[in-house]
Symmetry: C2
Subunit: 199 residues, 2 copies
């Protein structure tokens, strides 16, 4: 079947969504056009507003259009725990486990070959955040990949030697995997089984 240019453009654009292949994109495009144009326009507006309006929380650096995100402003959370992750998708994954401490979101992991050192991923801001808070434990929940491990190790070296307990999520997280793809149960187990890092 040949689609007209506007429909083809819509199908191509829908394919940029994660998990959407050619066939689902075609079905989505035709269904919106045939059955839900107002829903399609609403989605267009929501996309524009979010892409242009959402920035990063000033404190934890997760995605937020407000100065501070809900996780940072919630007074019922545990101020003694800080969980360090590689990105906002990981905050979402860790939240599924029932964790209710605070977060700090790095800009990915250290990657010297790509020129991404401590400043590029926000380590100075992490240090400032820890100094400004009253944490008793820092949970290093970077991805269980080589780069994530190296980043956790670097942070542990940097922060170690004081009263602060440094821990790393451990059991159940498959090596070489991506944190955001781990199911909630496995991740809850990994979080409960975290161990102190001896630096």
């Amino acid at each position: 079947m040949s689609f007209t240019p506007l429909i083809r453009q819509l199908i191509d654009a829908l394919r940029t969504l994660p998990g959407v292949g050619q066939k689902s994109a075609q079905r989505m495009a035709l269904q919106l056009l045939e059955r839900d144009r107002s829903g399609g326009l609403r989605l267009a507006q929501a996309l524009t507003q979010a892409m242009e309006g959402v920035g990063h929380c000033k404190q934890c650096r997760t995605l937020s259009e407000d100065e501070f995100c809900p996780q940072c402003t919630d007074p019922r959370r545990d101020d003694s725990l800080l969980c360090v992750v590689e990105g906002p998708l990981d905050v979402f994954a860790v939240e599924q486990t029932g964790y209710r401490g605070r977060y700090f979101v790095l800009k990915g992991h250290l990657s010297p070959l790509d020129g991404l050192g401590p400043e590029a991923i926000g380590i100075p801001e992490l240090e400032a955040r820890i100094k400004a808070g009253h944490f008793s434990e820092i949970i290093l929940a970077t991805n269980p990949t080589v780069e994530g491990e190296a980043t956790a190790h670097y942070i542990a070296q940097l922060l170690g030697g004081g009263d602060l307990v440094l821990s790393r999520i451990a059991h159940g997280v498959p090596l070489g995997g991506e944190l955001e793809l781990v199911d909630g149960g496995t991740l809850a187990h990994a979080l409960a089984g975290r161990r102190p890092i001896s630096s």
Copy 2:
């Protein structure tokens, strides 16, 4: 996890896409925001342009922003065959079978209880299309549901009695199913096994 209003609005809007549940919508929203904002804006623009710009082909009434769709303007198609379907998604489904005749797209099926009679679904336009063309066979490919069968029967009564062969797709299409959900192989079989309708 609490999302900020703009992110929540985006997640809700993504859920209007067919096949997208809460969890996929969350992943889509965060991935676009974190990794592909220009892709998100491109999708917003493609949606707006398609929802506002795509109308219906003047001849077959499928989705098209041009006056006539690619299926109607393609000179290599068989002008002796006309396939009548309930909607543009069905054109897409029938195309997968390798069918290369012409189409006519109804606005759904007859539904007397909802006040949808022949005029509402475009039967007069179908008659005009057939009069203006040189078809030898009309394939009635409405859905194999009670309403689709009734609609095919109505059309067969209306058009029967002349030289025109009227056929109905038959084998392999599950009763009570939706044509657009049938896999290509089954539908190809059903199309090949079409039988004349004795009216």
